[in-house]
Every structure is written in structure tokens, then in C-alpha cells.
Symmetry: C3
Subunit: 318 residues, 3 copies
Amino acid sequence: MTHPFRADGSLRHLITLEGLPRPIIERLLDQAQSLVRPLGERPPVSDLLAGCTVANLFTEPSTRTRVSFELAAKRLGADVVNLEVQLSSRVKGESMLDTVYTLESLHVDALVIRDAETGVPGTVAAHVAPHVSILSAGESHVAHPTQGLLDALTVRQHKPRFEALSIAIVGDIRHSRVARSAFHVFRTLGVPDLRIVAPPALMPEPTEFSGCARHTTLEAGVRDADVVMMLRIQKERMAEVELPDADRYYASYGLTPERLALARPDAIVMHPQPMNRGIEIASEVADGPRSVIRDQVRNGVAVRMAVLREVLAWRGAP
Amino acid sequence: MTHPFRADGSLRHLITLEGLPRPIIERLLDQAQSLVRPLGERPPVSDLLAGCTVANLFTEPSTRTRVSFELAAKRLGADVVNLEVQLSSRVKGESMLDTVYTLESLHVDALVIRDAETGVPGTVAAHVAPHVSILSAGESHVAHPTQGLLDALTVRQHKPRFEALSIAIVGDIRHSRVARSAFHVFRTLGVPDLRIVAPPALMPEPTEFSGCARHTTLEAGVRDADVVMMLRIQKERMAEVELPDADRYYASYGLTPERLALARPDAIVMHPQPMNRGIEIASEVADGPRSVIRDQVRNGVAVRMAVLREVLAWRGAP
Amino acid sequence: MTHPFRADGSLRHLITLEGLPRPIIERLLDQAQSLVRPLGERPPVSDLLAGCTVANLFTEPSTRTRVSFELAAKRLGADVVNLEVQLSSRVKGESMLDTVYTLESLHVDALVIRDAETGVPGTVAAHVAPHVSILSAGESHVAHPTQGLLDALTVRQHKPRFEALSIAIVGDIRHSRVARSAFHVFRTLGVPDLRIVAPPALMPEPTEFSGCARHTTLEAGVRDADVVMMLRIQKERMAEVELPDADRYYASYGLTPERLALARPDAIVMHPQPMNRGIEIASEVADGPRSVIRDQVRNGVAVRMAVLREVLAWRGAP
């Protein structure tokens, strides 16, 4: 995929991190970092995007990501409208593109799209008017680019030398957009040792995640890692891997304090949430001193502010 | 129906276009036109209605109309709250009027009401406190006044001399609030040749649409028309007209390029959306050079801004 | 329960009115009173809370209370996000606390929580970061503190000497959070004659509502009362009290003009809404000259503004 830019050099859409040039990624991370505040301080607010309109178009429920985008937009002064499409126009059979053309004609400047179907954000981006930006908020198992950026920002805050890192991504890699966006961003940022850890049935095709070491046991996968990224497991997947209940899955693939002890002493633990405590991660680990899971959430709103600024600031003041 | 005005001559409610005096309609169209911007430019924003509160009270889902009203209000600086009443207070059996009195007591200034039942906006308007305005966003099969105004504005942008026009409204006239509001506004604006085109079972009662020519074939109905307004057909209606599936309905009543060729060479094509592509309209026509369907959406937010200004501006600055 | 205060003496959370010191209650009522405007005038607006974020976290539907909090926050300049948790993250099994930690990490300053389960607001308050405030918007049958405050404000507007009042609370006391918060606030404000009126099966345990007179007939309960507070009855409760339909319940416990005539001639009638007209209250009474039910709604938004100011103003200007 080629990434489209505007005449002033700014990125137009954010659909995937695959192929996004490293300088753009670093610019977004730098901008996001400048917007991070410690918990308890107020987040930065501005009216940079006053007069702009951002529409959240979610066809899967996701309170966390929707609220994160909504607050990012509001704190930059934009107007926000929320649409849950499966509850409204789709019940009348309206096509996604007609909904998009409608929003475009209502002078919406950016569409934030979450959809369970592959290809939706890209299709919309290919058809939308030139002034409109498309931001993916999660596309099937394919991409979740703002999640990848917030993961990279979180790692950078603790381990600034990407070139020296071992990162293990653990869980249902096969069906995970979070894993794919992490793979792309860490690859581009030069992480030399990137590992995927999963039961065999949840490993991706051999053509994917090229260059990553593959481990089918958690113990081997996390050994001496600097970063352990846990993924959420869906219940229906446990049966597929012959670990048919939560206890058995946890026995084999749950991140316990004992297993975390195999990683580097200063390793950090990440999770995109929502967590299944006691299934893929022990509560002691999730809430422990090496967890940066809440930092990820805080970084998420900063990343989304940076992305909105990147794609909308060309409009200038109203 | 008599239309109530405030002491300064401004309209108080907008429930129907029936009987609305021509000077008021023209004032609203002029104001709306001044708020129209080309696609890609920013819409006008102001704080004229800062301190005012608009509540969207939708008892039928309608993403498009709700978002259009929401953006219109926000771009004028008003606060907006959305209520989906069937999902909340009505499940406890609360009556519509008690909901309305509650909103009134919360200092809501305008209530935008969409309801499947006949008479709801009028009943509410009859009971609400003197400072509150009621705007219908679609009332059963009876009226959809902002849709009628945006349709008139769209026609005027392309065919400014209403006195010279032939307009054909095509589809399920019998059950259509869009058709009724179009009939009222075009009648008042002096359109001499107004036609309704429908299968016999979807024709309205003979007492309605007085003065309109009635056609039961699309070919006869669109001949030499300046404007072709297509309506959405509901699946359950196709069976009623013995065209029990989409293909058969399309064969008889779909607007194809061939049928459109029977209209004037510069005829425009309209549709209130959401469209059933391949059922009442061919995609080639919907997306073709004579389609003004997206202009209708853009005009819709301008019309709603004009209406909100009309009914709320008497409050002056806060 | 002890009520936590910040270093500047302001209240941090509002979970219950039980044990809340009288000077704090009076300060909140005074502040709320200063924000009350007559119906038809504009409510006060400010940017005191600009840069603050309020999240409405409702796990039970409640349009009225949610909109009241939403408008209170917006009129003080705060950003507001609405979450209906049962429709989104909870469907994935996410725990309430992880949702709360997420909101905290998104720099949400106040969480407004409505939940059907006992203990949720208190549990959240016990775990949340020090800068975050928790406001209960209704907790099971236990507490509804902003309702209690608005009820007290409404009484004070008509009967300023609490020390001289007879107040009767009528209906399903056993299951009512409204009754409990009313009991706590009126007890603290020194109301000497506080009565509860209910069918025997809907009376609370003897250990609760200490010091209140208990009446099982409406006639005895309202005699010479200054204030009659009616509660909403749920249909499933009528069967429990062997008054299995609306008519029979109304015959025994409906507030009719005749029964209201037993109270003081200047008695006021209150109801938290939504009302079952013709079941617990006659429409003539609900809409009659002694009803202050709509004042309660208007006072509700003023009370919520006062509470938000109380718990968030320590942040000062952004």
C-alpha cells in the first residue's frame, strides 16, 4: 500500500502502518509525546481544529477506542459525531459508501472507521472526496494503526533504543490486528528481535510476519525479552487450540509472575485491553510494577491527537 | 394548520410545510443558500446560538437526519443532546409528553422530533412552554418539512424559475412523508406541472395531492420532466404491488438511463436517501452527471441551520 | 461512610447523602439555588470547567438523569462522553474496574455512574486515582444523592423552614433509592416529622429509616403533611402486594385530589419521575397547582452543576 500525502507533506489517511515511512512514524511519535501528560495533570487542549468535524463510524462496539478518538478530537476543538452504523442506516440496507458520501456532503473532515470486514477503510479512502481523511480504528484482523503507534510510543518511553530490543508478541497472532500493526511499526523502527508466540493453530500463515522468530511455548517465547505484549484471547479460539476452557488456556499460555521472570529483569508488560484476567494474564502481572498497560491508554489519546493534527492541520484556522 | 409566529415575526415551530406562507419559505431558502459551501470548503460556523440547547428526540433510527441536525446545531454554537427514546424512557412506559416536559424543564430550547406515529410533533407543540420550539424531523407518512425545504433549495439551485417547471415524484407516494412535503413546498412555490408516479396500490387517496397529474407508468410520468424525484421503496411494499422482488420492481419502476432519457435533456435526478441501488434507481443514474443527490445532503445541513436560526435567534446573544 | 474532602475543603466524591455534614449540604443547595432560572429564561453558562472531562457511565438506561448531568457539565464548559457499558465493553466481559482505569488514563476528571448493583460507585471510588471524582447517578435501591439534593432544594424553595415540616414519602419505600436519599437529606436538615407510607410488603426493614413514622394507608400517611413525595411503583411489585393490577393499586395507593385534600392546604406534591399516571398518581394532581414536579427537573440540572463545580473547581482554570 502506498500512503497518500497532501501538497504540504502531511499524511492524508491512516489505514495501516505497513509501508509507512520511518520519518513519518517518528514525527507522529514525537508529536504524540509532546501531548502526553502524567496521570492527574490536565491533558493539553487547543482550538487548532475548531470548525473541523470528525465522525466516528463504528460498526463494531468499542467503547475504549471510540472514547479515545472522541476525546482526542474534542481536545483539539473539533466537533464530533458518533454513528453506530449497525444500529441505524445499515438496518435499512444502506451501503457503507452511501453513508460515507452522506458524511462527506455534511462537511465531515475525517472519518474514523472501525469495521469487522477486511478492506473497508481502504475502500472508503479510495472513493472519498480529496479533502476528507480516513483513519482506521481497527480493521478486521488486518490493521489497527493507532494501536500500533501507541504501542511504539509506550515502548519508546521505557526502552528508547529500538535497535537493541527483543519484543515478544503473545497470543492469538493469527486473528490479531494489534499484532500485525505492532509487527509493522516495530519492523520499521528497526527492532532486531521480534518474536511471535502462539499455540500452533493460532500462528499466522508462514508468509506473514516475515523475519519473526516463532515460538509455540510461552516459556521459550518470553526468555530474555525486553517487552512482552500480551493479546486478548477470544473464548471461541480456546476450543480451536484444544485448550477448551479458561483454566487450561491459562495453564499453558497465561502470563504469570513465574513466566514473566524468564524475561529481562526490567522487561515491560503490555496489553491492548480489554484484558481477560486469569486467562491470558494474571492480575498480579497486569497490575504489577512492570505493567505499562495504563500508560498505553494514556498514550492512546495523545497518539490520536497527533494523528488528527497530522491529517487535518492543513486546513489551518477557520 | 396555522403556523405560529413570535412577536418579532419569526416562525416558532416547523411541523409541516402545508400552509406555510411563501415569503417564509423563501426567507428560509435564502438563509439556507447563504450557508451553502462547495464540497471541500469548510461550512460556516458561528456562536449565534451559544447558550441554547437543542435536543434530538428520535424514536425511529435515522443516522442521516440526526447527524445533519446535530451538526447544524453545533456549527451555530448550540449544545446538543441526543435521546433515543425507544431505548430509554419509553421502556419504562413513560409518556412522550412527560419526556417533553422534562426536556423543557432542563432548559432545552428546541426539540427535534422524529416519530413513526402521526400527530406527535403537533401534539408536543400544542403542549410545550411558549419559549420552546418544535421541529419535525419526519412524522409518519405525513410530513418531513426540512426534507421538503432542502429539496426546494436543490431544485432552485439548478432551475430557479419554479413557475416553469415539470416535477415528477416517483415511487411509494402513498406512504411517503417526503412526497407530501415536496408537494406542499412546490405547490406553494408555484410549480405548474407536478406529477406523481406510482403503481396503483401505492397511489395516495384521490383527496390528496390535489392538482397533481397521476401516472402509473414511469415512462409516461417522467416524459419531458425537469426534475425527477425518486423515493425509497420498502421491501414489504413490493409484494403489495405484485412486484414481489427487487428485480421485478426495478423492471417496472427503476429509474434507468433509458427511462431518464425520456425526461428533458437537462433534467436533474433527486433521491432523499438511503437509496436502494438496483431497485428504485440504477447506480449509473444515482452517480451520473444529472444526479444532485449529494447536493441534497449538503443542502440539508444548510437548511437545518437556517431553520434553527429562524426559530431560536429571537433569544439573541446569551 | 466517611466522605472524602480535598485539601481546599471541597468534597471529592458524591456517593451517598448518608452522613454528609449539614454545612456541605447547605453549601451545595445554596450554590444550586444561585444557578436556578425560571422556565423560559436561559440557564447560566460558564467556562469554569473548560478542559475538564466528565464521563457518563450508565449501565441502566436513564435518559432523564443522563441528559441532566450531560447538560450540567456542558453548561460549565466541560467535555462530556457517554458510555452505555452494557452495550459495549461489558459484552466482551471486561470488568467495571478496567473500564474505570481506562477512563482515568484518558484524563477523565469525573465519572458519573448509574448501576443496578449495590456498591459499584463506592468500589470505584475506593480504587480510582486521587484526582478523579465519582458521582453516583443512582445505585441500586441504596442511594441517589443528586436526586436527594434536588428534592431538598425543591422543598426549600416552597417551605424554607425544614425544622417545621411534615414530609410523607409514599410508595415502594423498600426498593427505592430515592426514598433513602430523601430520608438522609431531610433527617440531616432537621425535618422533625418524616413519614413513610407503603403497603406492608414494600416497607423497609425495621432497622432502616429510623425515627420515621410508618403508615400502611395513604389516608393516614398524608394527613396534615406539608410535602407529599410520591415514588414510582414497578408493575412487578404490585403483584407482590396483592394489588395485582394498576386499577387496584391506584384504588389503595394512588394520590387522588381527595386524598391530597387530607394534607395541609398549601402542601406540595413531588415525584422523581417517570410517573405512572393513573397508578401511583392522578394526572389532575401531577399537573395541578400543588405539583412541583417540573420544578424538580429544573432544580436537578442546577444541583448537578453545583455538584460538578464542588468536586472539579479545585482544578482551577486550565
